[in-house]
């Protein structure tokens, strides 16, 4: 299996009020192409920091992170931006979007900026509409972002993360701000995308969400304490139960 993301001895330290806070301590793991990996752990364990550091949004203090064979530490700010634009997709807990743009324009913005494809804007818009149709939000394309529900908005965020056909999507608690129904809908979409071949790294504290992934990494006190593989052919309830048992074993 091809390793799309490889992390070795990753350290991240914040200095707050002259005090050193080691958020990540010698974290090592990898994610293979086509995997959907959940990162779980208690609050303050370093889940989000890990996601932002391995995606190049935040600078690492030490260690090596390699994405699609490119070492993040060696990339300039512009190269990292280009990588995030063309090869990565992001979904956040809050449905962040540009307030002055319609939902459709928010989705196509990365594609318009990217030079990855030579398609016209109308073709991009058409592709975005197809993506939206697939995610079940076609009808909100021309709406303002404050005219749609949270679940619809998060699916629009998924569409935005998908618009440049990235190698990998990073999702930070994608269902954290949604109700159960919306959460399930969003997760269905993410699982669907993964089944179509998109690699996903998803930070969550919800075992129901994690149970839909193919592998779970448990992080605590800035270090990966263990990992748990899940077989999607097993019924979801059984996967959830097995995962919860494992998490209890891990002390959570």
């Amino acid at each position: 299996m091809e390793k799309i993301l490889e992390v070795k001895d990753l350290c991240k330290t914040y200095i707050v009020n002259k005090r050193q806070n080691n958020v990540l301590r010698n974290v090592s793991f990898h994610i293979n192409r086509g995997e959907m990996v959940a990162v779980m752990g208690p609050s303050g364990s370093g889940k989000s920091t890990l996601l932002y550091t391995v995606s190049g949004m935040d600078k690492m203090t030490a260690g090596d992170v390699s994405f699609c064979g490119r070492e993040l530490a060696k990339q300039s700010e512009n190269e990292l931006a280009k990588m995030r634009l063309d090869d990565m997709g992001f979904i956040f807990q809050q449905m962040y979007m540009m307030k002055n743009l319609s939902v459709l324009d928010n989705i196509i913005l990365p594609a318009v900026k990217s030079k990855k494809s030579s398609e016209s804007r109308s073709q991009t818009a058409q592709r975005a509409r197809e993506l939206m149709k697939k995610l079940g939000i076609e009808e909100i394309a021309d709406n303002d972002i404050n005219e749609v529900s949270g679940g619809q908005l998060q699916r629009a965020c998924i569409a935005r993360s998908m618009i440049n056909s990235p190698d990998m999507i990073f999702a930070d608690e994608p269902t954290g701000a949604l109700n159960r129904t919306s959460s399930e809908e969003v997760m269905e979409q993410l699982v669907g995308l993964n089944e179509e071949g998109t690699t996903i790294m998803c930070v969550t504290h919800d075992s129901k969400v994690a149970a839909k992934c193919t592998r779970v990494l448990f992080i605590d006190d800035g270090n990966i304490k263990g990992e748990f593989s899940l077989d999607r052919s097993t019924p979801l309830r059984e996967r959830e139960r097995n995962l919860n048992n494992w998490l209890m074993e891990m002390g959570w």
Binding site: E77, L85, M88, M98, K113, D172
Partner: protein, 790 residues
């Protein structure tokens, strides 16, 4: 608890609070200095004359003996209509008496000039800082502002006073402001020295017998009666009442009025900015207001919290603005008050009141803006300030349909999506540009040949200030025909064929009913009255018809069709008023006689330069060559139309200085506004900036978007300002011309390059610089900040 919320607010929202504080400082500074300057300008001339101690009537005499009470002084001391009299002894000098140590003339001039001892003056004379000069060190000399500027002197320069073999080696101590004779229009050169140095000159008998003169100042209860008493006195070189002296400052006053316009603009700009900033900061608070409401805090308590904050910020800002208003106001007014003492007596009190008024206005703005708190509901805490009922369409443009690049699209879309926010910036930029454009057009107009007609002369190819010939006409030694023929002859001898004429001015007693007034009438024997421009009626057709300016007509209550009695050469005859016209001459209060009228030279009160029209219609290059040659031939100043206008009005350079100063101030204001606005936008848009970075939009695109928003706004402002510049120039400047000169129809001439290129470019560059360097701050916002957005 309030105190701790307040403390947290001040700490956490440091940026926005600092921006608000800076705007309050700007507003208080603009308001306090502007109101002071407005008062200083409006009361300026009268207050200056009062401070100087100028009395009701002024006489310059010549030929009296040193120390003796001659006939003139006796009349003044004994007159029943004179309540107080003072006199200043002086020595008359010419430009040949004032030389550099190497023997060259310090400055060539033809006007009268005199040297005074500081211990023998009767009036107050002021240094450049408006302090009364009370003593002068031995060996030092002060020159009046006119001489100082014309000779391009600096403090510390050494000059000699050389009179009849006596030489005083003196060091220039500075320039002084001289109320009765110091206007550019008077053109008199004056010098103040130490009494010991003055006595050195008096020790020379030749000087005391040839150069002694006196200046008399008298307070009177009846000017006309006094004039009658003085009618037959010999040796009076010049006499006039205080009002006549004041009219010589009309151009200085017109320029000062421009500072008044600037001040009004600055006050408007500062309050527009303040209103925007307060509205903007309140809008920022919706989330917290929502949370406070959600936990049950009452509206009034929430409102009080913000009002206390605004009161604190505005009080600190207003106090700092109050302190800064003095140097800022001085800088503004100094550019127009080099000849005058323009000061507001109760400046400190007024500045303080203005600064406190800014606090009150801010509190009123704050009260009005916090009124929105009532409308905000707890749901705003969770729904970004938009409740379901009040959704508003924000996306105006469509990225999928637009052909614009990402940055231009985002910039244009932001502007269209927040029309109120950007309209206010557009208004501010437009006002700043308009201000400079108005002054550019005014300055350019005062430098254009078109304006010459407002001196009520028929334009010519060249103008020669041949003062000796002018004096010969005024003193009756030659007729104007003789003087003109002499010049024509000289021109012929130097290979230039042309006609010469002179516009003479005669002081004529005009009366209508029981109203009478001495009015200066212009007259030229070689032109037709119909050659001049009139605003109403038709040109005088025969010797019994006259035209008047509106202020002159008003002064005797005349209108077109009235018959006015004029006293010409002792003959009182009726003249029909056939037309009204506009003129700068004599502060706009003058008239025109028909060319067939004969005026005795005793009534001549002045003359413009000799005007020359060449027969061969030379091109511009040849004309300039000839003008230079004329200056050499007649050993005097020679001008083209624009030069002649500048020489007569004396304000072109000051106007240019004022325009440049205002351009600099506007550019600084625009940079500050761009910086502060952009910084506040960044503060509000941190989340979106972080999001753009997170999804891979490069930093330079974000910086470009932010800078482009200001560029678009400044271009829009430039277009608006250019389109509005002529109507606004008319609206703002015509009342000044009308108020000072009674002129209604001013031929404004736009400087196309300045209005359409230089000023807009300066403003756009200032905006780009301000916005760009501030937008660089977005670099400090990182993609991971997306996780920290509230």
């Amino acid at each position: 608890m309030y105190l701790s919320i307040l403390k947290k607010d001040l700490k956490r929202k440091k940026t926005m609070n600092c921006i608000l504080l800076l705007f309050v400082i700007l507003s208080a500074m603009f308001a306090a200095s502007s109101i002071n300057n407005i008062v200083a300008v409006l009361t300026g001339r009268d207050s200056y004359f009062d401070k100087a101690g100028v009395k009701d009537y002024f006489i310059i005499s010549r030929g009296e003996k040193l120390g003796e009470d001659g006939e003139l002084y006796s009349i003044l001391k004994n007159s029943s209509v004179v309540t107080d009299v003072a006199r200043e002894e002086c020595l008359y000098v010419t430009d040949s008496n004032i030389r550099y140590p190497d023997g060259s003339k310090v400055c060539e001039y033809t006007n009268a000039s005199d040297i005074n001892s500081i211990d023998r003056v009767a009036l107050n004379y002021f240094d450049k800082d408006n302090n009364v000069i009370k003593s002068i060190e031995k060996g030092k000399i002060y020159t009046n502002v006119g001489f100082f500027k014309e000779a391009n002197l600096s403090e510390g320069d050494r000059i000699n006073v050389e009179m009849d073999g006596t030489v005083l080696e003196l060091e220039v101590a500075g320039s002084f402001k001289d109320a009765p004779l110091g206007s550019d229009m008077m053109g008199v050169k004056r010098f103040l020295i130490n009494d010991d140095d003055y006595k050195t000159l008096l020790a020379n008998e030749k000087i005391t017998s040839n150069s002694i003169g006196y200046l008399y100042y008298a307070d009177t209860t009846d000017i006309q009666e006094l004039e009658k008493e003085l009618a037959d006195v010999d040796g009076i070189y010049f006499k006039g009442d205080k009002d006549l002296l004041k009219t010589t400052y009309f151009m200085d006053l017109a320029v000062a009025a421009m500072i008044l316009v600037l001040s009004i603009f600055l006050v408007v700009i500062s309050f527009v900015v303040l209103r925007f900033t307060i509205g903007f900061t309140i809008a920022e608070e919706f989330r917290e207001i929502g949370v406070m409401k959600a936990i049950g805090i009452k509206n009034i308590s929430i409102r009080a919290l913000y009002l206390v904050k605004y009161f604190g910020i505005s009080l600190i800002g207003a106090l700092i603005g109050f302190v800064l208003s003095k140097p800022f106001g001085d800088m503004l007014i100094s550019s127009v008050s080099s000849n005058m003492v323009l000061e507001n007596e109760s400046r400190t009190l007024m500045s303080f009141i203005c600064s406190m008024a800014v606090v009150v206005i801010i509190m009123l703005f704050g009260w009005r803006c916090t009124g929105k708190i009532k409308k905000l509901s707890p749901i705003d805490a969770v729904r970004n300030g938009q409740t379901g009922e009040r959704f508003r369409k924000r996306s105006i443009m469509s990225l999928s349909k637009s052909r614009l690049g990402t940055a231009p699209f985002l910039a244009a879309n932001d502007i269209l999506s927040s029309p109120r926010r950007y309209s206010i910036i557009t208004i501010i930029f437009t006002l700043c540009m308009l201000l400079v454009m108005i002054l550019s057009t005014t300055s350019n107009s005062m430098n254009s040949a078109e304006m010459v007609t407002l001196l009520s002369v028929k334009p010519s190819d060249a103008y020669v200030a041949y003062s000796s010939a002018q004096f010969d006409i005024l003193n009756g030694r030659k007729t104007e025909q003789e003087a003109e023929d002499e010049i024509i002859q000289k021109l012929k001898e130097n290979g230039m064929i042309g006609d010469v004429r002179i516009e003479l001015m005669a002081l004529i007693n005009a009366s209508l009913g029981d109203r009478q007034k001495k009015i200066t009438f212009q007259y030229c024997s070689k032109t037709n009255a119909s050659d001049y421009e009139y605003t109403e009626g038709s040109a005088p057709q025969n010797r019994y018809e006259i035209a008047l300016t509106e202020p002159a007509a008003k002064s005797i209550g005349a209108k077109i069709g009235d018959k006015v009695t004029l006293d010409i050469g002792g003959q009182r005859e009726e003249y029909l008023v056939t037309a009204l016209y506009d003129s700068f001459t004599q502060g706009g209060e003058c008239g025109r006689l028909h060319q067939d009228v004969e005026i005795p030279s005793q009534q001549y009160a002045g003359a413009y330069s000799f005007q020359i029209d060449f027969d061969d219609d030379p091109d511009e290059e040849e004309l300039n060559r000839r003008i230079d040659k004329l200056a050499d031939i007649f050993e005097c100043k020679a001008f083209d139309s624009v030069g002649f206008l500048n020489d007569c009005t004396g304000v072109a350079d000051t106007l240019k200085d004022v325009k440049n100063l205002i351009l600099i101030i506007s550019v600084i204001v625009i940079i500050m506004i761009s910086v502060l606005m952009e910084r506040s936008f960044i503060s509000k848009e941190t989340g979106e900036i972080a999001l753009q970075k997170a999804i891979g939009i490069p930093s330079w695109t974000i910086i470009l978007t932010h800078t482009l928003r200001f560029i678009i706004v400044s271009i829009l402002s430039a277009i608006l300002a250019a389109a509005l510049s002529i109507p606004f120039t008319r609206i703002s400047m015509t009342p000044i011309y009308q108020g000072v000169f009674g002129i209604k129809n001013v031929p404004y001439v736009m400087n196309i390059a300045e209005i359409f290129i230089i000023i807009p470019l300066a403003v756009i560059l200032a905006t780009v610089a301000g916005a760009f360097f501030t937008a660089l701050y977005t670099k400090t916002i990182k993609a991971q900040d997306t996780a920290n957005i509230e």
